[in-house]
């Protein structure tokens, strides 16, 4: 009798570790298709991008001759200017989205439950509408002979049509338009969980609305601000379609330049690769910085 428990212990311990390794194998089997898929169609393509960035361009293709020309060009003044344009556009878009998105998210988060769903759907509809259609609608709206100019002239506010289409202003406007829901939704999901009695407590303790906002609401919604900013900033960096359809050819953005190098003849695939990798590098640095900031913020709050 006394030896029995010990025996049992060994047995069940064996059992549980065997069950564990069995479950581990099952997990590998279940995730294998996606793992395989992402290695072949996500990781390997990037390896090819790296290889191509060191090759020599050909009119339609690449020559397998080692060259650093692509990088040399990518860091020349012309292209650095492109990077500068893209980054300032992305930053401006993110800030404007945050500025416009925050009150909207706040308003929805504080609305009555019944109204909340309707308001959210109102935000989601443009979000789900095809990107090209949304851009196209702005072309109609802003065109030289478009609706906006028509209305303004008829109201007597202007006499000559405004030339907004094909300006940087139009690009910024449509960027904000397209990416605004990406900012509102994560902000909303954080603000919705925010305990609004904290605001009452702050006001009870003598903070006015503005102070309560900066001391309570803003710090507590920092995660939503991070998430929303990332969701806007990163795609904005690589935007192609918006500058292409409402911008001009004087200010080229990174997405356009990369696309031209691949699609236009003569092709320059090494250049496109080098620019892509540089963009990837900047994004990676940014993400690491943000993550560090986020961790710092979190650990400080816990401490």
């Amino acid at each position: 009798m006394s030896s029995l428990p010990k025996q049992n212990w060994n047995l069940s311990n064996n059992n549980s570790s065997r069950a564990e390794s069995k479950r581990n194998i099952a997990s590998w089997a279940l995730t294998a298709p996606v793992l395989f898929w992402l290695i072949v169609f996500f990781l390997i393509p990037y390896l090819i991008v790296i290889i191509y960035s060191f090759l020599t361009p050909d009119i339609y293709d690449v020559k397998f001759e080692f060259s650093l020309d692509a990088y040399r060009q990518a860091f020349s003044a012309d292209y650095l200017n492109t990077f500068y344009h893209s980054f300032s556009l992305a930053i401006l878009t993110t800030l404007l989205c945050l500025l416009l998105g925050f009150p909207v998210a706040y308003y929805i988060a504080r609305a009555k439950d019944k109204l909340k769903n309707t308001l959210l759907v109102l935000i989601i509809i443009p979000f789900w509408t095809n990107l090209i259609i949304r851009i196209f609608s702005w072309r109609i709206f802003l065109a030289y002979n478009g609706v906006l100019n028509d209305v303004l002239i008829n109201m007597g506010i202007i006499t000559k049509p405004l030339e907004i289409m094909r300006t940087d202003l139009a690009v910024t406007l449509v960027m904000v338009y397209v990416y605004l829901p990406y900012m509102i939704l994560p902000l909303y999901s954080v603000l919705e969980k925010l305990d609004f009695t904290l605001l009452h407590a702050a006001m009870d303790l003598g903070a006015n609305e503005v102070k309560a906002f900066f001391r309570i609401t803003l710090p507590l919604s920092i995660e939503g601000i991070f998430a929303g900013s990332l969701l806007v900033f990163i795609p904005a960096l690589g935007a192609y379609l918006i500058p292409q359809l409402v911008g001009n050819q004087k200010t080229l953005y990174l997405g356009q330049v990369i696309t031209y190098k691949i699609k236009n003849i003569p092709r320059n695939w090494p250049m496109a690769s080098a620019l892509s990798l540089t963009l990837l590098f900047f994004v990676a640095v940014l993400l690491i910085l943000l993550y560090a900031l986020y961790r710092h913020n979190k650990s400080r709050r816990i401490a």
Binding site: L30, V34, P45, L100, F136, S137
Partner: protein
């Protein structure tokens, strides 16, 4: 008294901002819809109501082909990526899984990289391997960018899954297989549907990655629309866009309906 007026101002400010943003979001779309019925070749001025651009749409074989292509790609990539999503999410359920970090990283990284880069990298892959671009390559690209979303949506649903329900079923005598089909799967279903809908919309919506991976002769609607806006007549694009907006509304409504049904069942 002062406090009430102050918070009223605060609320009023938010309401104003909200209304402004709503106007901003909807005015261009509404104008587009109205102008799709405008009997004019150019976009300015109202020249009377007409259905004729919808009729032209119906007669345009290129558009019809683009529509078929879009749907084919959307349905197939939704199917594949959703099945992948279910499998992967189930595999990730195991918290002690030794590949958990690797797979999570592979799932999340594509989401934080500008999508143009995925387009470029796939374009180079297909160039390097000398694969003829067309339906097949577009399908591969769409599945690749949908996977991350389906896995994350289904996984988040499983994270919130109350494991004690499985224990309860086991306690009542149900074996693992029965538990999967009668308990786990039905409760995962809303997540699966949400994932599939998301994949479907993303696939229909995508321009840039398709642009890099489709060859000549295989156009999806976004590719066709972009080309036409740049080069061709845009009157049919108005009506086409209106139909696509209608389709979006339809999707939003059915998901809302469905959510209600699903929530009441949950």
């Amino acid at each position: 008294m002062k406090r009430i007026t102050a918070s009223r101002f605060y609320k009023g400010f938010n309401l104003t901002a909200f209304s402004l943003v709503m106007t901003f979001l909807y005015v261009p779309i509404v104008i587009l819809v109205i102008f799709s019925f405008n009997d004019a070749k150019i976009i300015t001025g109202w020249r009377g109501f007409t259905w004729k651009y919808y009729a032209q749409l119906w007669q345009n074989d290129i558009i019809k082909q683009a529509f078929r292509n879009t749907m084919l790609i959307a349905v197939l990539s939704t199917l594949v990526s959703t099945v992948f999503g279910i499998l992967t999410a189930l595999g990730l359920q195991n918290k002690k899984f030794s590949g958990r970090k690797l797979i999570s990283a592979l799932i999340y990284v594509p989401l934080v990289i500008p999508d143009i880069l995925m387009g470029v990298s796939l374009a180079l892959l297909f160039n390097f391997t000398r694969v003829n671009t067309g339906m097949f390559t577009v399908l591969i690209a769409h599945i690749t960018f949908c996977i991350s979303y389906t896995v994350i949506v289904i996984n988040s649903r499983l994270e919130g899954f109350d494991y004690s329900l499985v224990e309860a079923a086991m306690d009542l005598g149900a074996k693992p297989g029965y538990i999967f089909w009668r308990i786990k799967f039905p409760l995962m279903l809303p997540g699966i549907i949400a994932a599939a809908l998301l994949a479907f919309t993303l696939s229909i919506d995508d321009f840039i990655i398709t642009f890099f991976t489709s060859g000549r002769g295989f156009d999806t609607l976004p590719i066709y629309v972009e080309g036409t806006i740049r080069h061709g007549t845009i009157t049919t694009i108005n009506s086409l866009s209106t139909l696509m907006i209608g389709f979006t509304l339809f999707l939003v409504v059915i998901t809302k309906r469905m959510r209600k049904v699903l929530i009441s069942a949950l």
